[in-house]
């Protein structure tokens, strides 16, 4: 008997009450949707995706700041996933400026070494990614290089979700690769069942089983279902480097209000690499009225298929909301794997 089926049978035996679990990782959602995992879950178990896609939670005002620099002739470098994310008027892809897709920050630094023009790296990502940026900044990149630091930290957003309580959650699947770097000790303060899970379908299923166990035992706390990559303390060297270069700051997440200490900005010592300071620009608050419900999808209180635009006006070819843009966005993933049908 396949291990997935064995785990699934145990899960059916355990889930005797409503259990709503949230994961906060686009890679988890992609694996769940691609493998059709929701179809083997017990009827009383529901899995929703929270704010687990760094591209999706980047507010339009932050995209606008990058567009402003591109319009001024600055060379922009960033991850491919960010290219089509809508700002208030246009996206990096449609803006007509010098915008280049890179694998990571080190490639953007290489570009800066080859050209005279100012090069700005649009830097998104959670704890998995921020230390790579810290490493590059510590290595003293050329003077014509700087970054827009749009990093976000996962625990403050989880805290917001738990305080808010609108999603009525019984537990969290913690993001495996965020925890690979950050460890999971920071999550132990949350009085809710949590399991760190890997990314293969059977690893995620095992994570669900362990979560259901904690719920059934009436306990809270963190268990680790991804020990080959994740330890309680994570990658201490990477986290120390991140804290050495960045300090926490209050930032807005798309779909959320300003969440205290949930962002990262460069410390004063590294201010010359901060594009906001270097070019004297500010992030503007953008409010745009559309029928798009990405905000509610990101908070785990609506499914992509609840949106009137999903699969109709909003498709991967012509995305309206950020969750349809990114390969890690819930709407894009559901559309690609035909999850949820069209309402």
């Amino acid at each position: 008997m396949g291990i997935e089926r064995e785990i699934s049978e145990q899960l059916h035996a355990l889930v005797d009450r409503p259990m709503n679990f949230m994961h906060v990782c686009g890679t988890h959602e992609a694996s769940i949707a691609r493998s059709g995992l929701r179809s083997v879950l017990p009827p009383m178990m529901k899995i929703v995706m929270g704010p687990g896609c760094p591209v999706c939670i980047t507010p339009a005002g932050e995209i606008d700041a990058a567009l402003e620099l591109a319009a001024d002739g600055v060379t922009i470098a960033t991850y491919g996933d960010l290219m089509r994310v809508p700002g208030s008027q246009e996206s990096l892809e449609s803006c007509g400026g010098d915008v280049r897709i890179v694998q990571g920050i080190h490639k953007a630094v290489e570009i800066a070494g080859r050209v005279k023009n100012e090069v700005v790296f649009v830097s998104v990502g959670f704890e998995t990614t921020a230390p790579t940026v810290a490493a590059a900044i510590r290595a003293e990149p050329p003077k014509n290089f700087s970054i827009l630091s749009y990093h976000r930290l996962v625990p403050p957003a989880m805290e917001w979700l738990l305080t808010q309580g609108e999603a009525k959650l019984h537990g969290f699947i913690l993001p495996g690769h965020v925890c690979t770097v950050s460890g999971y000790h920071e999550y132990e303060r949350f009085p809710v069942p949590q399991v760190v899970a890997g990314f293969e379908p059977e690893e995620i299923l095992l994570g669900f089983l362990m979560l259901a166990q904690i719920v059934r035992q009436g306990e809270v706390g963190v268990r680790n279902a991804y020990p080959k990559a994740v330890s309680r303390d994570g990658n201490v060297k990477a986290m120390a480097l991140m804290h050495r270069v960045f300090e926490p700051c209050d930032v807005e997440w798309r779909g959320f209000p300003v969440i205290p200490a949930s962002g990262l900005r460069l410390r004063d010592e590294f201010g010359e690499y901060d594009a906001l300071r270097k070019f004297g620009i500010a992030i503007k608050k953008v409010t745009k009225k559309t029928a798009c419900i990405c905000d509610r999808v990101l908070r785990g209180i609506a499914d992509p298929s609840d949106c009137p635009l999903f699969g109709r006006a909003c498709t991967p070819a012509r995305p309206i909301g950020p969750c349809m843009v990114s390969h890690e966005g819930a709407c894009r993933i559901w559309h690609t794997y035909h999850v949820g049908g069209r309402k």
Binding site: G26, P54, T132, A135, P175, L209, K228, A229, K237, A238
Partner: protein, 73 residues
């Protein structure tokens, strides 16, 4: 965004390693990890973000058995 791929470090020069992903070999930055040739690492946006522990590398099946055994205790 947080996709990370495992591979084996087959060469190291300063802070750059060559990692064998099976069907692809690629240069990877090693700034965030202390590794030796032969170690397995997880690679994300061109950087190794963690060394994979072989001792802790329990297969899902073994982990499942442990979880079930613990539940029966």
């Amino acid at each position: 965004m947080c996709i990370a791929i495992p591979g084996e470090v087959i060469e190291i020069r300063d802070n750059i390693g060559v990692v064998d992903f099976g069907d692809l070999k690629q240069e990877v930055r090693l700034d965030l990890v202390d590794v030796n040739v032969g170690d397995f690492v997880l690679v994300h946006v061109g950087f190794a973000i963690q060394r994979l522990s072989r001792e802790e590398g329990l297969e899902t099946r073994e982990l499942f058995r442990e979880v079930m055994a613990a539940m029966e205790d």
